[in-house]
């Protein structure tokens, strides 16, 4: 997978005032045949506004559940989720929750309208905005995901390619102008070119200031896109904060059925400090050439 080149200025998008996120001792369990199964246990972390977080962990470690809880689709059984420092029940919390966008795994399965524009308009039209505001947000979102509204606005979602459908579904979330964007395995089932394109879009959102949480098995893209990591192991935080890819960090990733990013492994095997490994192939080539 290609690394993502940095973009200093967001393309076609105004700067966004990102939202800060914190979890304090968040616990959640599912009922499975009358037996509660703990999905999240005492999960605590902080993510400053405008930062990007790689949410890593083996299948079943609790990544999707954590995204649902942060989005407010599931209520934590213990602990609390803080948005811009506010806890649930505080004045303005509902409004903040509406500024959290969640892109589900394979979101294109939920496309339903008969035109791209109509599909993207569904979310913002329920936020009480004026028609003009909704139309402007839809056009902006379509531009952000590289589906220019003049070319794609009236297309039927099912007539789009798989990669275009994935980006259209993302536009449906971006049209609500999230200040915190949560993505659940956004790269699954995409071909490499489409993954690169989606990664460029996410890099753009990050550059615009949106706070990002990216749940993924793709450690190379996580390394390219994310400032920090949160590693979950059976619902508990195994590691959090800045990437620490010394030997201990590598062992932690391996214990969670992950591997270290390619560029980190390369730096280690070249005898360089893996903690100073570059984030992109271009940076790596500069350092090596």
């Amino acid at each position: 997978m290609s690394a993502v080149e940095p973009e200093t200025r967001a393309h076609g998008s105004a700067p966004v005032h990102g939202m800060s996120l914190a979890c304090r001792d968040v616990g959640f369990s599912y009922q499975e045949a009358q037996t509660p199964i703990a999905a999240l246990r005492e999960v605590s972390f902080e993510l400053a506004a405008g930062r990007s977080l790689a949410l890593l962990g083996a299948s079943g470690s609790g990544k999707s559940t954590l995204l649902q809880v942060v989005r407010g689709l599931d209520l934590p059984e213990t602990g609390e989720v803080l948005l811009d420092g506010a806890v649930a029940g505080a004045a303005g919390y509902d409004g903040l929750q509406k500024q959290v966008g969640l892109v589900f795994q394979t979101p294109e399965l939920q496309l339903f309208a008969s035109s791209a524009r109509e599909d993207v308009a569904f979310g913002p039209s329920r936020l009480g905005w004026s028609e003009d505001e909704v139309a402007a947000a839809v056009d902006e979102a379509l531009d952000l995901v590289d589906l220019p509204p003049d070319r794609f606005g009236e297309r039927h979602p099912y007539a789009l390619s798989g990669g275009e459908q994935r980006r259209l579904a993302l536009a449906g979330v971006l049209a609500m102008r999230p200040r915190l964007l949560l993505l659940d395995e956004p790269f699954v089932s995409l071909d490499p070119a489409t993954r690169r394109e989606l990664a460029r879009i996410l890099a753009r959102l990050r550059a615009a200031g949106v706070t990002l949480v990216l749940a993924t098995h793709d450690v190379d893209l996580a390394w390219a896109l994310c400032d920090e990591l949160l590693l979950l192991d059976h619902g508990r935080v195994a590691a959090g904060g800045a990437w620490d890819l010394g030997d201990a960090g590598r062992d932690l990733l391996a214990a969670s059925r992950l591997r270290e990013p390619f560029l980190v492994e390369l730096w280690r095997r070249l005898g360089r400090d893996p903690r100073e490994a570059p984030r992109t192939y271009a940076e790596a080539a500069e350092a090596l050439a």
Binding site: M1, S2, A3, E32, A33, A58, S59, G60, S161, G162, G163, V188, S189, L190, D191, P192, A193, T194, R196, H217, V219, D220, S256, R257, L258, R259, F262, L263, E265, L266, R269, L270, Y281, A282, A284, A285, E286, L288, A289
Partner: protein
């Protein structure tokens, strides 16, 4: 842009290629998969999903199938497994069964196993061992023979301790191993894997790829559909699809060559190759293009 060692060109359409005769003359084992000019169109679709595809795979061969989303990879997997009827083909044979014929397809379903991307759709029973036994039960195996076979499959895929577990309580990698055990419980000659690692964590990916390589060593023909360029490196050969036709067939290094063909097809290079291209753009070209971290390190070592 067709690679020099390609034996198949997109322009060939349904016409049989010279390569087929050569194969048989060379005294190699008879191919287990042989399709020529294979065509398929989904009901109501404007364009063909497969537009005159050729593929020949012999026992003990591991062939990677790559192509962008929508290029026809999954359709090919379903047709090879006898799960859909081809619209037409000059020849479409799997393990000696004619895929154009209804009875042939039913017979092909026994000899050709297909593992899909999402194991959730393949696990149907209430516990792992029942799932692994499911296919055998349908074929009328005796309970005793079935038990022996299921035990062997559970042991082989590290599922013995999970035999009574409900499939939905397994991790993604365990589910895919259980699905694979179920596919292989019926003795197969060909295994078709359709993006089998897409939903898995890196360790799960390595496990599934390793299992496919072991099955090749045991003499199965492996057709491995993937979007993971690092996995392609493990294959004996690769074919690349575009708009339902083969635009490259040949060795893996030839597929990746200088990166131009895979770029044009919406694919990419293994990570080591991507970095090597960045180095080449800075006047430090490495030939042949490294495809693994080990190759890249060796090349970097020589340059110093």
């Amino acid at each position: 842009m067709t690679a020099p060692d390609s034996s198949t060109s997109p322009a060939a359409g349904g016409a049989p290629e010279a390569g087929g005769g050569a194969l048989e003359a060379a005294g190699r084992p008879a191919p287990l998969i042989e399709v020529r000019g294979l065509r398929y169109r989904y009901p109501g679709a404007g364009t063909e999903a497969l537009a005159g595809l050729h593929l020949v795979v012999s026992a003990g061969e591991f062939v990677a199938v790559v192509g962008a989303n929508g290029s026809g990879k999954s359709t090919l997997a379903r047709l090879l497994g006898g799960l859909e009827k081809p619209a037409s083909a000059a020849r479409a044979v799997a393990c000696g069964h004619d895929l154009l014929d209804d009875e042939g397809r039913m017979a092909a379903r026994r000899d050709v196993g297909v593992l899909f991307q999402n194991p959730e759709n393949q696990l149907v029973a209430e516990c792992v061992e029942d799932d692994v036994a499911f296919g055998l039960e349908n074929l009328g195996w005796t309970p005793q023979a079935m038990r022996v076979r299921v035990d062997a499959m559970l042991a082989r895929f590290g599922l013995a301790e999970l035999r009574r577990r409900e499939p939905h309580l397994l991790s993604g990698g365990q589910k895919q191993r259980a699905a694979l055990a179920g596919v292989l419980a019926i003795p197969r000659r060909v295994l078709v894997l359709d993006e089998p690692t897409a939903m898995l964590d890196p360790a799960g990916r390595a496990e599934v790829l390793q299992a496919a390589l072991e099955l090749r060593a045991e003499g199965l023909a492996i057709v491995y559909v993937t979007q993971e360029m690092d996995e392609v490196v493990a294959a004996d050969r690769a074919i690349a699809l575009e708009a339902g036709a083969v635009v490259y067939e040949g060795g893996v290094p030839g597929l990746f060559r200088d990166g131009s063909l895979v770029r044009r097809l919406g694919l990419g290079l293994p990570a080591a190759g991507e970095l090597a291209l960045e180095l080449a753009a800075r006047g430090w070209s490495i030939s042949p293009l490294p495809l693994t971290t080990g190759d890249l390190l060796a090349a970097l070592g020589e340059k110093r």
